[in-house]
Subunit: 333 residues, 2 copies
Amino acid sequence: MANIKDVAERAGVSVATVSRVLNGHSPVAETRERVLAAVRELGYRPNNVARALRTARTGALGLIISDLTNPFFTELADAVEDEARSLGYSLIIGNAGERPEQQDDHIRTLLDRRIDGLLVSSAGTGSAMLGEVVGSGTPLVLLDRTVPGIDAPCVRADGRAAMTDLAAHLAALGRRRPAIIVAPAGTPTGDERLDLFRTALAAHGIGLPDERVGAAHDLQHTGGRRVMSDLLDLPQRPDAVLATDNLMALGAMDELKARGLRVPDDVALVSYDDVPWFAHTDPPLTVIAQPTRELGRVAVHTLLARIEGRPAGSVLLPARLVTRRSCGEPPAH
Amino acid sequence: MANIKDVAERAGVSVATVSRVLNGHSPVAETRERVLAAVRELGYRPNNVARALRTARTGALGLIISDLTNPFFTELADAVEDEARSLGYSLIIGNAGERPEQQDDHIRTLLDRRIDGLLVSSAGTGSAMLGEVVGSGTPLVLLDRTVPGIDAPCVRADGRAAMTDLAAHLAALGRRRPAIIVAPAGTPTGDERLDLFRTALAAHGIGLPDERVGAAHDLQHTGGRRVMSDLLDLPQRPDAVLATDNLMALGAMDELKARGLRVPDDVALVSYDDVPWFAHTDPPLTVIAQPTRELGRVAVHTLLARIEGRPAGSVLLPARLVTRRSCGEPPAH
DNA sequence: AGGCTCTAGGTAATCGATTACACGAGCTCG
DNA sequence: CGAGCTCGTGTAATCGATTACCTAGAGCCT
């Protein structure tokens, strides 16, 4: 592949001039044309590796996704990629598959590649490498999930308003024995969603005792299904269940179906994350929708601010309740 | 961040020695220990950018995905990433979103970054840049979709056996008026699936006239829904529909539901791609399952063969029919 | 005309690694 | 005992760009 020297020779100028033309620095008409012609004729494209070495800027951002096969994160990754690209950065995606070691492995290679900044929606409860990222000086922004002890801005959704609406919705429909399926114990996201739900219900005089709080062993289909099974085995079966992740909701639905229970007649079901096909389930699922694409966009902007040395703090974007039919009574419209 | 010179100084050796220790080339016990100690103390990590410049190997592969939000491709990307990582490469994913211009844009930046090889599941019917990739000498392997006129191995699924089984399945269940929903006209994948289906049906004396062949305007939910609508408006409604992509199948299902038609009683429905939630629809969908993860793995190996100069040709892996209940009669088991 | 500023463009250092080549020390072997 | 090895290590070239610094000439002023 042609390099800058070839172009310089062909245009009869020095490499410096070629570089200047290409970066729009100083050069002027006549020389400029010759250089551009040479570039065209040789099909020259600057070598980004060399450029990155010299400028200490790779023009690449890293994104660690906790589970790429989870549609919520797929959409998040897609949004991040779009935004990064439109701002002239390319994106290297690493999928942690909810495994902290794999996450660390990815972070290490991204640092070795000298990416300009890193976005992380962390698997598990964080990891040693995240500390190193901060230490290395590479700009870091957390996405969707906070990590205790890591000093970096976090961009995520605020479920408070949606939870308030949800509690009101359930109360209005006469549901009195709610339950919740949360992420494995100790994850900040799980704890927070539980707190918010409990608080919101309390405002309507509805309790959420610990026996109706189920922590899944994983953030997957089977995790949700198993917890739903436990909940249904309770002496008093819950009459409404909130699954705090879309895959767990899917598992929960399957368990209900397997037992011949009907949604919403026997049990109301609500999920977090409005993934496209929830509108096509039977019945369509009422969900707490996070502003997924917006989260991705804002995260990229926050990261760029950090990269450019501008101040940037955490951001909370409101989630909202999308009422469909899985709690009963189709919404009047 | 510490560089190789810092390490050399601290260990009291030359940079050459440090490099040799780190790459396991020649050095021996005593010096080796000193170098490793220095590396540890300084937290040194080699700069991959510099290394890539010198060795002309970046250790990165590129993957262009036609639509990352399509679960089939998400799983494919995930499999490719896993395999690449386990072989010591990192992966840069570019999402074309079914837009050829965006695909070209991605390919361009990947080439500029001097990736060691490129995997492409091409959006549309290919693009000018693909020709340039071949011209540039960057090893290229096509994935899932062939591109006419591009001289590169292609790794994809062979639907023949599955189609044969499907035709037999439909015939056995007494379906006589099949229809098919294919990708926009002119895409090799669409044409091929149509041919295979038609041929397989013919063996049972069942015809597939053009009026029951619907080309969607896009590979999405709405594309599938619109075509299904047209098919249902036919004077003689089809009694079985094969949607050749999972998103189109979802659209088709919605149209059936909207018209109050029942699956499989009124119309049998079959989809391509066994995405996880098809097992959870009502009724569970009979599908032609592609060996998705295997495709990803094989594609990476084929690409590595190319990179290392070993010969490597196209690969076809058999798809298979997964019988569930959307064509009637649950399978005996 | 001499001196000044301004601009275009060349020369060479630089980024951080890898690696060809050279060199000296310690061996073996005739 | 010295020629010839091998082995470990250092010196310096190299990858392909960017950019600080310098020079030459043009234009302008007094």
